[in-house]
Amino acid sequence: MTAMREAFFMAIVVIAGTGGELCVTRAMKRVGEVKDFSPRNLLRVVLRAFRVGWMWLGLSLMTTAFLALLALLSWENVSFVVPATALSYAVGALGAKFLLGERISAKRWAGVLLVCLGVALVWVG
């Protein structure tokens, strides 16, 4: 039962976390490519971003993931973050492909998988 509960919360950490980032990406694509980096325009871009619904959905999902992480941390030690953080790179790439229509070449997949492996090694070490 405890294992089920932990698996459930870990799924929330990974899915809500990457889902939230995908929503934020969608919001920023709606804002459009930033070309003018003057402080005044940057402020305007950020304010415009917060008027897009996807941004709020994204931030809500990221908050949910953070709360699920805190809940997990209160039951378990930090070792579970290894699979969670490593997995989120693979889940993020899949989400970007199927939800945002990004084209992920074999080269990019190879890079993503190496990053997954590397992040897991850094945490274990």
């Binding site: 980032e21 995908l22 934020v24 990406t25 920023m28 694509k29 709606r30 804002v31 459009g32 490519e33 930033v34 940057l42 871009v45 950020v46 971003a49 790179y89 993020g92 790439a93 989400g95 970007a96 492909k97 945002l100 229509g101 990004e102 084209r103 992920i104 070449s105 080269k107 990019r108 190879a110 890079g111 993503v112 998988l113 190496l114 990053v115 997954c116 492996l117 590397g118 992040v119 897991a120 090694l121 850094v122 945490w123 274990v124 070490g125």
Partner: protein, 138 residues
């Protein structure tokens, strides 16, 4: 071609800012919170005192400032670059943390951790060799 070159350039600069500001924010926040000490009471008044101590700490404010800069850089880069480009590329922050730990704090880094750092670098180089944007511009 010139356009793609410019896109690579500004993507590189913003990801560099992200991987510097993110870990800096974490370090300041954690130093600030450690200065305050462990949470001793979970009562509402205990929380209120924790928050008032945290928000009167200069270190905590520096941490929050760096994390805001990190988030702004993240938003800006996502306005043109793929998520599947930015997310793995920003894993360079693990490399920055390991190097800062080893060089500035004299932390001992195990061979497994160095292997991880090198594997991340290799992955980031591969991702960095792909075009930052593969979707149509909205």
């Amino acid at each position: 071609m010139k356009n793609s070159h410019g896109l690579h350039g500004k993507t590189f600069v913003l990801i560099l800012l992200m991987v510097l500001f993110g870990p800096l924010g974490d370090v300041f926040l954690s130093k600030g919170m450690k200065q305050i000490g462990a949470v001793s009471s979970w009562s509402p008044s205990g929380f209120a005192s924790l928050f008032s101590q945290a928000f009167s700490s200069l270190l905590v404010w520096c941490g929050i400032g760096f994390l805001i800069l990190f988030f702004v850089a993240y938003l800006l880069v996502l306005s043109w670059a793929d998520y599947s480009f930015v997310q793995p590329a920003s894993a360079t922050s693990y490399v920055v943390v390991a190097l800062l730990g080893a060089l500035l704090l004299g932390e001992v880094i195990t061979s497994v951790r160095w292997t991880g750092v090198l594997t991340i670098c290799l992955g980031v180089v591969l991702v960095g060799g792909t075009p930052p944007r593969t979707t149509e511009h909205a």
